[in-house]
């Protein structure tokens, strides 16, 4: 059974749909890229899956032992966070909130898990540093470590490389690839870069007026992708 199955979803605000007729699933080990133009409702889709918005219609089901609160989420950064007085360790530990539940304090295991995830993201030496003093790429790794504290099964990433320089971007993609291939974590990632989706993903969901969902190979042959790629090629030429 799939971790996540969405059927005939319609999303939007105050009754007005921005996206409709979305159906797709995420299975263990999948790497799904969600592509589409800006404003096509990609972030809304993520937030709906996480339970932050209600869908206008359609169903979202979780399976294979995954609960909604067990998804690790890497949101786009807010202005508040860029200037936040907190250490890296404090932020990563806050990812254990779902595990702690009603308990007021974090347990020893949770603290160890936070430490392990710091290590996984190569952040040990920054553990006591202040978040606002880190570079953009380091901040993204901190948020990724926090997301890993919340999940062992599935990550949802919202434009994880926005604002990063090409070198750090490549490192970030490599890191995500490793989490997917080596640790078997399913990944669902929003990106506006179709070429990234074609390089990294196993599956593609194209959101917009025309919706496409399928494997990367199928997407490559679809007219939607071709139009996108030609446009991009034209722009860079």
């Amino acid at each position: 059974m799939a971790y996540l199955t969405c059927k005939n979803l319609a999303l939007g605000y105050e009754g007005q749909a921005v996206l409709s007729d979305i159906s797709f699933e995420v299975n263990p080990g999948d790497y799904l890229c969600v592509v589409g133009e800006n404003g096509s409702g990609k972030t809304t889709l993520m937030k709906t899956i996480l339970g932050l918005h209600k869908p206008l219609s359609g169903t979202i089901t979780f399976g294979d032992g995954l609960k909604q609160s067990e998804i690790g989420y890497l949101p786009q950064q807010t202005a508040v966070q860029r200037d936040f007085p907190a250490t890296v360790r404090e932020i990563v530990l806050s990812g254990c909130q779902a595990l702690a539940g009603r308990r007021p304090f974090y347990s020893k295991e949770e603290k160890q898990m936070a430490a392990r995830n710091l290590e996984r993201m190569n952040l040990e030496e920054y553990a006591s540093r202040c978040y606002r003093e880190l570079s953009g790429g380091q901040q993204q790794r901190v948020l990724l470590a926090r997301a890993l504290c919340a999940t062992r099964k599935m990550l949802i990433l919202d434009e994880p490389v926005s604002g990063l320089d090409p070198k750090v971007t490549a490192e970030m993609y490599a890191l995500i690839r490793r989490l997917n291939r080596e640790d078997g974590i399913s990944v669902m990632m929003i990106t506006h870069d179709v070429s990234v989706a074609l390089r990294e993903a196993t599956h593609v969901l194209h959101a917009g007026e025309n919706v496409f969902f399928g494997t990367r190979e199928d997407y490559l042959c679809s007219p939607l992708a071709r139009r996108f790629l030609i446009q991009e090629g034209g722009a860079s030429a």
């Binding site: 937030k47 996480l50 339970g51 932050l52 909604q68 609160s69 998804i71 989420y73 949101p75 807010t78 508040v80 966070q81 936040f84 007085p85 907190a86 250490t87 404090e90 932020i91 530990l93 806050s94 990812g95 909130q97 779902a98 702690a100 539940g101 007021p104 304090f105 974090y106 006591s128 540093r129 202040c130 003093e133 926090r146 919340a150």
Partner: protein, 278 residues
């Protein structure tokens, strides 16, 4: 000077003032950190104006002894309403706060004038706004009420510290992790309302925001972890409150504004330290 202080401390009302002052300064600074970081400090300002209106009505209704029992629920209710309207897209959060707070102020003063029962109206208004004398006229019941509520606030703060951090840093993430963020925000709003009503005794309704904002801003200049910012804000706030109360006794200045003046000095010192470190 020490003789003067020793003489004053023989009076129970001076000791009460010091106890209450320290507790209020402590509570308001703890919540101040999260309010400032979440850009919610305006809620403190709005609520204090509401409390002013409520006190005016309580005065007209001759609720002198039991006025806390009237002012507290009204302010808590407004806190809940403000939080709701903050999310309403039709009336923007900041203008809603402005409308409620200025409206409550104007109506409060109007009511005080029309139904005046006092011979010294402007004195009453002034002490409600700037808190001048009311801290020295606390009854024993009010002191105990203040101690009880402060302890409740402290316990809530310690128990919910980790959740408070999670929500302050990233509300969406906390919500996705299954936290009941709306209920949590409601609790914060209620606690803030309680603190504001308590703080009216100390600094008056116009100066409450200072107790919430200044210690947090001072601590954020220098410290870099959430925990140290919280501890530093609490310490700065308590030290400034004690200093302000002592100075006001010796120099016979108004209590509230002296405490705020001490907070401003602390902020300048911390800003300077931050500059030097860079």
């Amino acid at each position: 000077m020490i003789d003067t202080l020793a003489r004053y401390f023989q009076f129970p009302f001076v000791r009460y003032a010091l106890i209450v002052g320290v507790l209020i300064a402590l509570c308001s600074s703890l919540l101040g950190v999260t309010l400032v970081l979440r850009r919610f400090s305006f809620i403190g300002d709005g609520l204090s104006h509401v409390a002013f209106g409520a006190i005016a009505i309580a005065g007209v209704l001759h609720l002198a002894e039991a006025r806390m029992l009237f002012v507290m629920p009204v302010t808590v209710l407004s806190a809940v309403l403000l939080l709701r309207t903050g999310k309403n897209t039709k009336i923007k959060g900041d203008s809603a706060v402005a409308m409620i707070s200025v409206g409550a102020m104007a109506l409060g003063y109007l009511i005080m004038n029309v139904f005046s029962t006092s011979t010294n109206l402007s004195g009453d208004v002034c002490s409600t706004l700037f808190g001048s004398m009311s801290i020295l006229t606390l009854t024993k019941t009010e002191v105990w009420l203040c101690i009880g509520l402060s302890i409740a606030v402290l316990v809530i703060f310690v128990l919910f510290y980790n959740k408070l951090f999670a929500v302050t840093f990233d509300e969406d993430f906390a919500r996705a992790a299954g936290m009941k963020v709306d209920a949590f925000n409601l609790m914060i709003a209620i606690v803030v309302a309680v603190i504001i009503v308590l703080a009216m005794n100390l600094v008056g309704s116009l100066l409450i925001s200072a107790l919430i904002v200044f210690p947090a801003m001072s601590a954020m200049r220098v410290y870099k972890s959430f925990r140290s910012v919280t501890i530093c804000a609490a310490s700065v706030s308590v030290v400034c409150a004690v200093a302000g109360i002592l100075v006001s006794i010796v120099a016979s200045t108004p209590v509230g504004s002296t405490i705020v003046a001490a907070d401003i000095v602390a902020f300048l010192i911390f800003s300077l330290i931050a500059k030097i470190r860079k």
